[in-house]
């Protein structure tokens, strides 16, 4: 639609919604200027002619009074800041005092916030109690019928910071008496870290002759080599003498004996 037609239609008040949008767009991009819309001219002129009174002298008086007050306030705070800065620059002793003060404060706070002796003791007690509980759990689990429970029990020993005699004895008993080969193998592994204890070592040597499972026998022979335990040779030879010992195990044990001797 021609802009003239659009304007004429607008003047007669018959614009459709989309034509109104078009007129908006024309005004927006400058195709139609507001002056062309004559119906608004009158109101525009009248509106622009609306007289606006002048502000009174009060406005200026109040403004300059406020300005002066602000200036004075800022000068005062500036003077104070300046005085402080001068004091700072002029007296190095003050700076030293400040630094020493800060260090003292830091040390003091550190002292106040140090981990309390009582707290430490509480923590130690707590972890000891947890260890005891784990130990008890392990011993209880070892007596269970299910092999998986017993395996769990054996694995629990790795979480104990230091195994007690009770624990190692229980493990050695399991090594010699448990009917499940896997449990016995796991027990052997669990005992290895404690092999430096003389009783454990003794128990391991004795166990060689008591084992019937070839897997456990072989594992024991290997462990003896790893521990460089010459006292085990006697027991290893007992296994060799046993007619039921399978040839692979025999071979392995012979090799171990060679290394040990």
């Amino acid at each position: 639609m021609d802009t003239k037609d659009l304007i004429n239609k607008y003047r007669s008040g018959r614009l459709l919604a989309e034509e109104e949008e078009l007129l908006d767009r024309y005004i927006e991009n400058g195709t139609v200027s507001l002056d062309e819309l004559e119906d608004l001219k009158g109101i525009k002129v009248n509106f622009e002619a609306l007289p606006t009174p002048e502000p009174s002298q009060n406005l200026s008086d109040a403004f300059y009074a406020n300005l002066e007050a602000t200036k004075q306030k800022e000068q005062k705070s500036k003077a104070l800041a300046h005085w402080f800065a001068q004091l700072w620059a002029g007296q190095p002793a003050l700076r030293w005092a400040y630094s020493v003060g800060l260090i003292a404060l830091g040390v003091g706070l550190g002292y106040l916030l140090r981990p309390g002796g009582e707290d430490n003791r509480k923590l130690e007690n707590l972890s000891a109690e947890v260890s005891e509980m784990k130990e008890m759990m392990m011993l209880t689990l070892l007596d269970k019928e299910s092999p998986s429970d017993r395996l769990k029990a054996v694995n629990l020993t790795s979480e104990l910071p230091d195994a007690s005699v009770k624990v190692t004895e229980a493990l050695l008993k399991t090594l010699n008496n448990d009917e499940n080969v896997n449990v016995r193998l796991a027990t052997l592994e669990a005992l290895y870290p404690y092999a430096s204890h003389p009783q454990v070592r003794e128990g391991l040597i004795k166990a060689i002759a008591m084992q019937e499972s070839p897997l456990v026998q072989m594992a024991l022979a290997e462990m003896m080599v790893a521990l460089q335990e010459k006292r085990s040779v006697e027991n290893l030879e007992k296994v060799l003498k046993n007619k039921n010992t399978p040839p692979e195990v025999r071979e392995r044990i012979e090799k171990s004996i060679e290394v040990l001797i």
Binding site: I27, L34, F47, E48, L50, T52, P55
Partner: protein
Amino acid sequence: MDSISDNALMLKVRDGDLDKLGLLFERYKKILFGFFYNMSHDAGLSEDLVQNVFMRILKYRAGFKGDGEFKVWMFHIARNVGHDHYRKTKGKETDEIDNWKDKLGDDNMNREVEIEKGEDLDLLRLALKRLDEEKREILTLSKLEGMKYKNIGDILNCSEGAVKVKVFRALQALKQEYMYLQARV
């Protein structure tokens, strides 16, 4: 050129030469007063608001970067001052149309032409007052001395074209209100 020196003055104010604000005050007190007066038609209130604008300029002078026109920055502050005031007083204003009609009385017949002209202006002021704040504001800004559509766009964060459309719509609304009031007289 005015705006360059406006900015130079404001930068000096920012850097601590507060006396220079006096020059900016002299330049803009009437314009700002006109802005608030056309919005409120209350001279006392308008003076207070102008005062508030300059105190805020002083307070927030460090925020003036000098990359835009001072006038636009000042009107941003002025609008905020105005909004803060209207927010506080919202709901307290009453529609004056009935009071105004009472004021006219029954002796219309005896009025002289000049008085009638005065009444026309009153009617127009009343029509303006009945517009919503946004429309009243755009018309007021467009009426201010030296204020171009581009400046208004910068103040209102919109394009120059959008300002034209807003003025167009506001004028239409003003005319409608005016005609409505005329019909009631």
